[in-house]
Structures are given as structure tokens and as C-alpha cells.
């Protein structure tokens, strides 16, 4: 039932989009966009219904959900694997298309909706022609489904229970929020692409109107990308039990690349608006932002790279490469039509004025994106060239990306007050000498308590300087409605990044860990605190067995647990007991349990809460924009 309806409505949706693409009358556009949104919402709900009714004749439900899966994770299973996540992708895309039509549509031309439609045809086409979440199961595997069909009205077979989602995906409620946030961010990068290409295609007198729309439509995806990445990091820290939050894993990298490019664009768009410079560069950035999301999906879903996140193979690789080529060509084609317009771009006069600083910001952000991109694909290239495998790990990024980000942190200090004219460093020092001294004193005080290294010193003093200058700026000027809302958005974001930088450098440089072997009802000392270990409690849930081990210090009791999932060959997932404080977390995971003796990993993780606070502040940067309705 669901299978037939789902497949037929996917076809209808594709037909409707093709009609919309060739439609010449403006009259139908809005109706068609609405109907399209409606169909996508319907398809989304339909698959959810399938998941909740345990309709195991659907291959997707049989493979990625199970009877015993708790409701929240059943709901989240929709984006637990490739086919379903394309459905979520389509839903986001049609939502954005609707908002774009309502808020940003070029009144004199239909080309923006056409480009949007083309992109949607591309993704809906995938679910129709290649692999559909509504595919029906025609041959069973031991558990789940082995062969499926994407044609309707076939004879289906049904299994009793499904395989269930990947255990990693059903261990923490954050998993239900993190992927949709990232998707909204990812898919939203389509909007600036459409804005730039369509408005430059129809070429008007004031061709600079594209930058306004592109800038406005970049902020929302940027915000969601920030939140999505933060939640992903938090999930990794809270659930995976390895004490970390970022591993420079390919999938993390490809979510970070569009973020860096969008951050660069949000800055450079500003100086195009005020000084009419960097026209061609902004166009390139917008294109790369969009293409990098396709590239990211390609890398993570095609199976060319192994990573924690790369959970699905299929023929989507070639399909996405084709898409990148197609949209890349459209982008280059429209760009080359506007060579004359781009050549009007003004040169930079003041290398230490506002425009200069924004140029440096773009150079370093883009270079970081470039370095991360190269690091991500290097193992592939290396294997092709020398047929040997290498791993590009943390050290590469520490050496190459670290300094770039540190320079950016330093540049942000000056962002509080930039004039068009060149910065007079002498005057700047004189004006800010008190703040500089306070920042340095706080730095010294902090460093007394820490293991020292020069990279730590530079980062900590830059962070404090940034935090103090921004805060004093807020104190002095925020109530007076001075400066545009986007200026204050920037200031809040910078403050957040400053706090985040402080947290991350503390974490990277100060954290340490040890292993403890002990029995039930014993205690151990760690970092001037005594921890008492009780006996394990076994909890049997339908989808998993949980071995919980209560641990308490003088103030509170927390549980560390081993989660052993049924229907899964993966090793048990160890969830941590985290004793939090603003400066450091005591993070305890159980390594193995043997009768009543345990091996625990005890970590002292510095700065994690500071990091989350920083990222939260950065995410709150949308408030000033609300004030002026600029979102």
C-alpha cells in the first residue's frame, strides 16, 4: 500500500517538476511550487507512517528499522540511511524553494525558479530512477531485505522484524536533531547559488542586486550548519565514549568546508555591497559553496572513503558526479556571460583598511577550506598514484589548518572597529592599551595553572583580547542603535568564536587520561577527588541490553554504561559518565566488565563546556538580525 502510493507520488512529483521547468506562464508557478511542497511533505509523512506501522514490505523499513526500535529512533530512522535522507533532502529543498519564491524571487523573471526546479528534478530523479525509500522488498535476507524493486504493483514479501538502525544512531536523542539541522544548512546553500546564477543570467542594470539576495540567503544555512556541526560534536562527545568531539573524519571535513566558504562569503559580500569590489570572487564563492555540498554528499555516500559516517553505498556516486558537472557547467556558463560585469570590480586601495581586512579574512578562510579539501581527498589520490593506502590524520590538520585559524582569531580582534581608511596600529594600541593589559594579565594568571607551550600562549592571549574588546564594545555601544544589525551579528559570532577558541585550546593542550582497574565497591582517586564505584545494574530493553555502572564522587552519582545492541554485529558502545564543571570534565568510560572487576578509562577533559558555550553564543548571533527583519 505505502509502497505503491510512495512510488506513484514520487513519479507525480517528478512529472510536476518537469512541467514546472518548462512552464511558460507565471500564473501557475506559485501553485506548482506549493503543490510540490505539499507532495514532499506528504512523502515524508508517508515514510514515517511506514516506519511506525512496521511495514516491512518496504525494503527501507526492513533494513533500517525494527519492531523493537523506540519511537524517537523510528522517527529518526527516516534519515538513518541514504535513500531516506534523500527524501529529507527533497523536503528541505522544496521548503527552501517555497520560501525563496515568497521572499526573494526576482519579480521580472522566472529563471530563478527554473534553476531551483532543475536542482530539485536532479534529486527527485534519483529517488525515481535509481533508489527509492519506498522500494518494495521482493527477496528477503536472513534479517531485513536483500532485493527490492522501484516499480509499483509488484508482488512483495514481508519479514517479521527489521534489521534496526545502526546502533550508533539509536543511542542518544541528539541523533534525531543533528542530521536535520545539517541538512537544512547543506540544502540551504542552494539558495545563494540560485540567487547568483539566476540574477546574473537575466542581467540587469543594477546587477549588484544578486549579492544582496545571496548574502541574505546564505546566513540561514550558515546558522543551521553551525548548529548542526556543534550538535554533531556534542553527540560524539556524549555518546561515543572516546572523549573527543572532532576527528577530522572525512564527513566532518565536508561539513566544515561549506561552513568555511559560507563564512568567507558572508564577509566578502559585505564589502561588495559597500565598495563594489570582489565581484568575481563572490560569484566563485557562491558556486563553490553549492558544489561543495554536492561534493560532500558524493564523498560520504558513494563509499569512496571509509568513515564512521559513510553508512551507505550505491550508485549515487556517479549520479552526484554528473550533477556536479551539470551544475558546474551552468555556473561557469553564466559566469562567462558576465565577464564584462565582473571586470567592473574595483581594486583594493587600503590594504589595512576595512576592505583589506576582509580580503585577508577571505584568504585565510578559503585557504583553510582548500587545505581541508586536499587532506580529505589525498588518500584517494595517493592510492590511485602509488596503490598504497595512507591515513591523513590529526597531525596534518594541526600543522596546516591550525595556524590559519589562529591568524583568523588574531584578525577578529580588529573587527570591533574598522574604518575604510588604513588602520593606524600606533593609535589602535593607544586606544586599547588598558584592554590589552587586562587581557595579558588574565592570560598570565591562566597560564600559571597550565602546562605551557607557545601555541597555547598565543591562542589564549588572542582569545582573551578578542573577548575583552568585543565585550567592552557591547558595553559601550550596544544600547545606542549604532551600526547595522549585521555588524552586531558579526560581533556576537566573533565573541562566541573567541570563547570557543579558549575552550578548544585548553582541551587540546591540557587534557589527560589514565586507566584504572578495580572491583565493585572500591574507590579511586583522580585529580584530587575520590570516586566510588558500585556494582553493575543490568537493564534489558527490547532493542538492547545495558550494563550500567554507577560511579559517585562527593557530590553526585553518574552512570557509565555498556550498550549491547541486539541484531548487530558491532562491538558494544560505551557511554560515558561525565562529571561536569566549567573548567574541566571528569569523563569516565568503562572499557570492559568481567564479573565484578572493571577496567575504566578516566579522562580529565578541559574546556569542553567553554567550547559549547562559545558555539552557543555564535549560534545566537541571529538576534540582531531579527531586530531589523533581516533574516
Amino acid at each position: 500500500m505505502i509502497y505503491n502510493i510512495g512510488i506513484i507520488f514520487s513519479w507525480i512529483s517528478l512529472g510536476l517538476l518537469i512541467f514546472l521547468f518548462f512552464n511558460k506562464k507565471n500564473l501557475y508557478t506559485e501553485i506548482l511550487v506549493r503543490v510540490n511542497l505539499f507532495i514532499q511533505v506528504f512523502l515524508f509523512c508517508l515514510l514515517e507512517v511506514g516506519l511506525f506501522l512496521n511495514d516491512f514490505s518496504l525494503s527501507y523499513v526492513a533494513n533500517y528499522s525494527a519492531k523493537s526500535t523506540p519511537p524517537l529512533y523510528k522517527f529518526a530512522s527516516l534519515w538513518g540511511s541514504l535513500d531516506g535522507s534523500i527524501l529529507l533532502w527533497n523536503l528541505c529543498l522544496s521548503l527552501f524553494m517555497y520560501f525563496y519564491l515568497k521572499l526573494y524571487k526576482d519579480p521580472s523573471s522566472n529563471i530563478d525558479i527554473k534553476i531551483f526546479t532543475l536542482i530539485m528534478i536532479f534529486f527527485v530523479g534519483y529517488t525515481v530512477f535509481s533508489s527509492s525509500p519506498f522500494a518494495g522488498c521482493i527477496e528477503l535476507a536472513t534479517i531485513g531485505c536483500s532485493t527490492s524493486t522501484i516499480l509499483p504493483f509488484a508482488e512483495l514479501v514481508t519479514s517479521n522484524t527489521g534489521r534496526g538502525p545502526n546502533p550508533l544512531l539509536q543511542n542518544h536523542p541528539l541523533m534525531a536533531i543533528h542530521p536535520p539541522m545539517l541538512y537544512i544548512g547543506y540544502v540551504g546553500m542552494t539558495m545563494p547559488f540560485v540567487a547568483a546564477t539566476s540574477r546574473l543570467y537575466s542581467k540587469k542594470e543594477d546587477s549588484n542586486s544578486w549579492i544582496e539576495v545571496a548574502e541574505k540567503t546564505t546566513y540561514i544555512p550558515w546558522l543551521f550548519l553551525t548548529i548542526g556541526i556543534t550538535l554533531g560534536a556534542a553527540w560524539s562527545y556524549e555518546v561515543l565514549g572516546w572523549g573527543g568531539y572532532w576527528a577530522w573524519d572525512p564527513v566532518e571535513n565536508v561539513s566544515f568546508i561549506p561552513w568555511l566558504l559560507a563564512t568567507a562569503f558572508l564577509h566578502s559580500a559585505k564589502i561588495q555591497k559597500t565598495q563594489n569590489t570582489l565581484l568575481n570572487w563572490n560569484y566563485i564563492l557562491v558556486g563553490l559553496m553549492f558544489l561543495s555540498t554536492l561534493f560532500g554528499t558524493f564523498i560520504t555516500r558513494s563509499g569512496v572513503l571509509i568513515s564512521v559516517h559513510a553508512f551507505s553505498n550505491g550508485n549515487i556516486g556517479t549520479y552526484l558526479l554528473f550533477g556536479m558537472l551539470l551544475f558546474g557547467l551552468i555556473f561557469i556558463g553564466i559566469g562567462s556571460k558576465n565577464i564584462e560585469y565582473f571586470s567592473k570590480s574595483k581594486k583594493i586601495d587600503n590594504w589595512f583598511g576595512k576592505s583589506g581586512f576582509f580580503v585577508y579574512n577571505n584568504i585565510f578562510l578559503f585557504s583553510s577550506a582548500l587545505v581541508i579539501f586536499i587532506g580529505t581527498i589525498f588518500p584517494l589520490i595517493y592510492e590511485t598514484l602509488y596503490s598504497r593506502q595512507i591515513t591523513v590524520g590529526r597531525a596534518y590538520y594541526d600543522i596546516l589548518v591550525g595556524p590559519l585559524l589562529l591568524i583568523l582569531l588574531g584578525l577578529m580582534i580588529f573587527s570591533v572597529k574598522l574604518s575604510i581608511k588604513n588602520l593606524n596600529i600606533q593609535k589602535w594600541l593607544n586606544d586599547n592599551v588598558v584592554l590589552i593589559n587586562i587581557a595579558l594579565m588574565v592570560t598570565i594568571f591562566t597560564l600559571f595553572l597550565l602546562n605551557n607551550s607557545y601555541i597555547l600562549i598565543v591562542t589564549v592571549s588572542f582569545s582573551f583580547l578578542l573577548i575583552f574588546t568585543t565585550v567592552s564594545n557591547f558595553y559601550k555601544n550596544f544600547r545606542v542603535p549604532k551600526g547595522s544589525s549585521s555588524y552586531w551579528t558579526g560581533q556576537i559570532a566573533h565573541l562566541g568564536i573567541g570563547i570557543f577558541a579558549l575552550g578548544i585550546i585548553l582541551n587540546v593542550s591540557q587534557s589527560f587520561s589514565t586507566e584504572k582497574e578495580l572491583n565493585s565497591f572500591q574507590e579511586f582517586n583522580f585529580n584530587n577527588e575520590t570516586y566510588f564505584v558500585y556494582d553493575t545494574i543490568e537493564e534489558r530493553l527490547p532493542e538492547k541490553n545495558v550494563l550500567k555502572l554507577p560511579i559517585s564522587n562527593s557530590k553526585q552519582t553518574k552512570y557509565t554504561s555498556l550498550n549491547i545492541f541486539k541484531n548487530s554485529s558491532q562491538q558494544a558502545i560505551s557511554s560515558p559518565a561525565v562529571f561536569r564543571s566549567i573548567i574541566n570534565d571528569i569523563y569516565i568510560t568503562v572499557k570492559f566488565i568481567n564479573e565484578d572487576s572493571y577496567k575504566l578509562i578516566v579522562r580529565n577533559n578541559y574546556g569542553v563546556l567553554i567550547m559549547w558555550i562559545g558555539l552557543l553564543i555564535t549560534s545566537l548571533s541571529f538576534f540582531p538580525r531579527l531586530r531589523n527583519n533581516e533574516v
Binding site: I348, I363, F592
Partner: protein
């Protein structure tokens, strides 16, 4: 003007701090952050809670206690698991630094040239 001198003194203090209390990271910690756990998904043996990583760590500890040089340790692991085991590829492949740095430099030079040269 006085506050200028304060700044100067503060900077002097800060710069000298690592000399007074230098950071300490043991060789074992250092190496276990470099070696990849081959049965885990992209984790180093330092991060991984698996028993396999445990065994690797104890071999590593023995090697360091026996005073093997970095080169010898490196050769031992690469011989057994291939180059993939070293997550710090910089030690064995200089191209991994040269390629991105040169591409970034080319990008920066084109970018600046385009913006700077006036017609």
C-alpha cells in the same frame, strides 16, 4: 605612556612562561596518538577503547621502555600494517605538506595579484 611599559613587561613574562614550566608529554602518549587502531573506524589507539588498541599500546610501551628510536618504532609498525597505520603522514610523505602549501600559495598570489594590479 606608563601603561605601554606595563604591556611590554607583561609580554616579557608571558613569553618566558613556557621556559619555566614546559609542557610534558610522554613518548608513549605521543606515539599512541599517531598510531591508527586498524580495527576501529578512524580512531587512534590513544582514543580507542578496544582491546586491540590495548594490545598495541602494550607493545608500544615495551618498545619505548627498551629505548627504540622513533625510526625503529615507525619501521616496525609500517612493516606489519602498511603506511596506513601512521596517522601522521608527514613523517613519511613530504608531498602531503608540499602539495597543499603550494596550492594555497598559488591561490593567494593569484588572488592578491588580481586585486592589486590596476589597469
Amino acid at each position: 605612556m606608563k601603561s605601554r611599559y606595563i604591556t611590554f613587561v607583561l609580554i616579557l613574562i608571558i613569553v618566558s612562561m613556557p621556559l619555566i614550566s614546559p609542557s610534558s608529554e610522554s613518548r608513549l602518549e605521543n606515539w599512541s596518538k599517531i598510531l591508527l587502531c586498524p580495527v576501529c573506524q578512524g580512531e587512534t589507539i590513544y582514543d580507542s577503547p578496544s582491546e586491540y588498541a590495548d594490545d598495541m599500546k602494550s607493545i608500544l610501551k615495551e618498545q619505548i621502555d627498551n629505548g627504540l628510536t622513533d625510526g625503529q618504532i615507525n619501521a616496525f609498525w609500517v612493516e606489519r600494517y602498511g603506511e596506513r597505520i601512521i596517522t601522521n603522514p608527514i613523517t613519511n610523505n613530504t608531498e602531503i605538506l608540499i602539495v597543499p602549501i603550494s596550492i594555497v600559495l598559488i591561490f593567494i598570489s593569484i588572488f592578491i595579484r588580481k586585486l592589486y594590479v590596476k589597469k
